[in-house]
Amino acid sequence: MNILYFRSFIVFLFFSLQGCSVAPWERGNLAKKNMAITVNSGLSALRDHAFTSKEASQGGYGGAGGGCGCN
């Protein structure tokens, strides 16, 4: 019985985490340019190109964008 309660509690915790997201109207700071994964998208593209040519594999760089979640 205790195991059942424990598992239910873990499941409850997991679903509670859904509240840990940034609301769409609170993404002003996330939308700033310096919050981007790649601040300079041009430079990242160049590095990605060089990496791809040398290693014959695709680099794992992020794309451009501030992450504001705008459509």
């Binding site: 499941v11 109207w25 993404r27 700033k32 504001c68 705008c70």
Partner: protein
């Protein structure tokens, strides 16, 4: 069996807490006009078709939509169409600076607290709420692309044709 029921209940609560705003009256919202402490009164717009637009300066599609919305508002103003733009920037001054460079003719109100988008259950930026002449929210449009212009125009025209 109990475990399964608990999991189903947890899933359901995610949907149940979200009230549907469609066909409901516009919720009260403490957005203020610039330079005043007066809240926007949506009731005073009854009899008009209103588009309530949530926007912020950090949201590129919001800014992109504004020239189109302004032109549409000015075109359909005589037929009883109005736009209320609710700015949700944490710093109102940013919005005021932006509007100095790119002014609009419609009413812009400010909510730095984030209470308005919470009450309107805003899911994306920008969000547009189409309100009919009776003051009821008829549909919600999320985001903005230039290809949405036709859709927005048709929605407004349809609401304007209703008496």
């Amino acid at each position: 069996m109990k475990k399964l029921l608990l999991i189903i209940l947890l899933f359901l609560t995610n949907f149940l807490v979200k009230a549907d705003l469609i066909d409901q009256a516009v919720p009260f919202c403490p957005a203020k006009m610039n330079g005043t402490t007066q809240n926007i009164d949506f009731n005073s717009y009854k009899g008009k078709v209103v588009l309530i637009d949530f926007w912020a300066t950090w949201c590129p599609p919001c800014k992109q939509s504004m020239p189109f919305l302004n032109a549409l508002r000015n075109e359909l103003l005589t037929q009883g169409f109005e736009i209320i733009a609710i700015n949700v920037d944490e710093d109102k001054q940013q919005a005021l600076r932006f509007l100095q460079s790119y002014p609009v003719d419609y009413q812009v109100v400010y909510d730095e607290t984030g209470e308005c988008p919470q009450r309107f259950e805003v899911e994306a930026m920008p969000s547009s709420y189409f309100v009919d002449r009776k003051g009821q929210i008829r549909s919600i449009h999320l985001g903005y692309r230039s290809s949405d212009q036709q859709y927005i125009r048709e929605k407004i025209t349809k609401l304007l044709s209703e008496k």
